[in-house]
Symmetry: C2
Subunit: 153 residues, 2 copies
DNA sequence: TTGCTATTGTTAGGCACCTAACTAGTTTGT
DNA sequence: ACAAACTAGTTAGGTGCCTAACAATAGCAA
């Protein structure tokens, strides 16, 4: 029964995935002319507001793994937008800061997040958005708890 | 102001992303012992219920690009779980079907989607889930519409 | 001081997503 | 009938996510 399969899949994937993919796609679409990926943009955003930051700190803010961030940073360094400097107080850590080119680029960038929020939720009842967020937040917490319990056993 | 930045980021990323990442992580955790990725599981699921399917059809069901599916299928073929057969009626198309090994593996697999739904939403009010889904679905549609309008201009 | 342990970042390899460009078939239009 | 346009799948290259294993540094303890 192909129809049945499709319905199951709909329920399974859920709209959270589709929303996430659609918002990421729009963000990539907006950033493509600047040759920037979504996480690269977040890094520039954070550096533009609070500099310098060490990578360890960034992994916590962005909630991604060290290895993942390492690749993102190396892309930004390759593009000449960000510099890595060894922290004199701890040679293991690397401080990140924007280069002149990075700062100049940042000044010309649009705000993809503002756009996404505006397009996605403009005119939508605030209480409905809050409820949806709460449902997702609680569900996320349950999933993470469940996984962490199994993991440690 | 680091605090301010973090708050903006929280709002920006939204719980849809976190929910999606958490559910994918749990699904990967469940499937890891079987050396299967999430999309690989979906393909096996669809083939186990309705076989054979051609790749073109699968890209529509899974809502992913041809190139993406091509890589997923080639992984499944490499693992000996799926066979690709040229469609005699249209040599361009390839029909997919499970191998014996694929069918045997499928019989031993747990249902990661059922688990995720149970863990994430057990005991949650149905109307709240429905509302959250509606909010996300509408937002997704607005994002996609917006992007498609810009794209075609 | 020497040696174990913990932490930071990188590298290697895998999955899942994308676009762009290619090949090989099929269809259509004149 | 044949060239043009379309379609199905692959390949190449990019992003973003992960785990596992490694090097270098730091810190602590005997």
């Amino acid at each position: 029964m192909p129809n049945n399969s499709n319905l199951d899949l709909e329920a399974a994937e859920s709209w959270a995935k589709k929303y996430f993919l659609a918002s990421r796609a729009l963000m990539e679409f907006v950033l493509r002319p600047y040759d920037l990926g979504t996480t690269q943009w977040y890094v520039l955003y954070l550096l533009a507001h609070d500099e310098p930051i060490n990578q360890r700190e960034l992994t916590r803010t962005l909630e991604i793994e060290r290895a993942t961030l390492s690749a993102v940073i190396s892309a930004l360094v390759r593009k000449g937008l960000v510099e890595q400097i060894s922290d004199p107080h701890d040679q293991r850590q690397k401080l990140l800061q924007l280069t002149i080119a990075g700062r100049n680029l940042w000044a010309t960038l649009p705000d993809p997040i503002g756009l996404i929020t505006a397009v996605a939720f403009d005119g939508v009842d605030d209480t409905e958005i809050a409820l949806a967020n709460r449902v997702l937040r609680d569900a996320t917490q349950r999933l993470n708890n469940y996984k962490n319990e199994r993991k440690s056993i």
